[in-house]
Amino acid sequence: MKKLIFTLAGLVAFVSIIAQPVSDNAVIPVSVTLNSILRLNVVSGGNIEFVVNTLDQYENGIANTTRYTTTFTVASSIDFDVDLYAQDAQLIGSGSSSNTMPLNNIGYVLEATGTGTVSATGNYSLAGGNVSPSALQALSSSITEIISSIPVPAGAGGAGDVNQNRFEIQWELGTQTPPLNSTSLLRQSLTADRYTTNVFLVLRPRE
């Protein structure tokens, strides 16, 4: 009986040693660092200056031309929005700070000029609308969302490179087209001066 037990024990040990495969492991840590890419670049038109020097311009304003156009691009790894606002509540005279001009004499139209599309199912809306160029907007010191990405799945999302996300802000002055100031520059009896303000463009992740 004991012989049988010893024999079986030896056999089991033998078989178990034969059947045991040997493997070895190596572990490699992998990290993926996603840095936020949110870049806005004013390509041209970083300094817009309207010079009103004829009565016609005082009466009818100055319409947009390429000279009064700001072009900017956005490169973003995530959907984004762009806000626009003026630094001051009014344009302030350089000669005298008591000389002011209402901001709503200045208006702008937004146009997407890159490969991105503006529609309900496209990449973004402009100034709350789904058409490009947008409706005319009056400049304001209130923060105004001028570009709104339409995230997937409703839209195609705004995240993209500068070829996709290229925009123009087409400025105009004193044209009295609604919603701009309906009174001409002439009728406002503005003191001759150089009126200025800063306009901020703020790129931020889509909320």
């Binding site: 040997v22 490699i28 840095n35 790894s77």
Partner: protein, 175 residues
């Protein structure tokens, strides 16, 4: 009676057991990381988001394999070695706010003996990426390449910025 027990014990200790050991199938698998032991994908500009990041032949693994039987001869029933890979975790988890990326974000390719293998989309289940028929004292280098976010279906646009981590486990074993 005592002498009989003693003889039986001595017999199994010095005859049966050494025989069992000498007749065993010796399989030895070893894997060493020669270089590329820490893989980092850094998405620092938009182009990388759009096109993904590839690390070509970044990790070099030295593999040893031996499958012999009694007398040190190649195991006639052996089929060679296999190199497998899997993710230890079920997803690529971020440091913050529970952000996760799918394992399918990462693909792995292997280069061995002049041939390319893959790409293999990463999962948490072992996938064989390279095999070899060698049985006797195999000693070779397998080069591993990594792709992250290179396919339109797995690019990282609109993924939340974070540092995402996972562990890759390579296993060298008999086929």
């Amino acid at each position: 009676m005592f002498r009989k027990k003693l003889w039986i014990t001595l017999f199994y200790t010095f005859v049966i057991l050494p025989f069992a050991l000498s007749a065993q199938n010796n399989v030895t698998s070893r894997i060493y990381i020669v270089r590329g032991s820490n893989v980092v994908f850094n998405f620092s500009n938009y182009s990388r988001y759009a096109n993904g990041v590839s690390l070509e032949r970044f990790t070099h693994l030295r593999l040893y394999f031996n499958d012999t039987i009694t007398g040190g001869i190649p195991n006639p029933s052996g089929t060679g070695w296999a190199l497998k890979v899997r993710s230890v975790q079920n997803n690529i988890s971020g440091d913050m706010w529970g952000n996760v990326l799918s394992l399918s974000t990462i693909q792995i390719r292997a280069h061995y003996n002049g041939s390319d293998f893959g790409p293999f989309t990463l999962t948490n289940i072992d996938q064989t990426i390279v095999t070899g028929p060698d049985l006797l004292s195999f000693n070779g280098i397998v080069e591993i390449s990594y792709d992250c976010g290179t396919l339109p279906t797995n690019n990282l646009i609109n993924q939340l910025p974070d540092v995402y981590l996972l562990d890759l486990e390579f296993t060298m074993s008999p086929q």
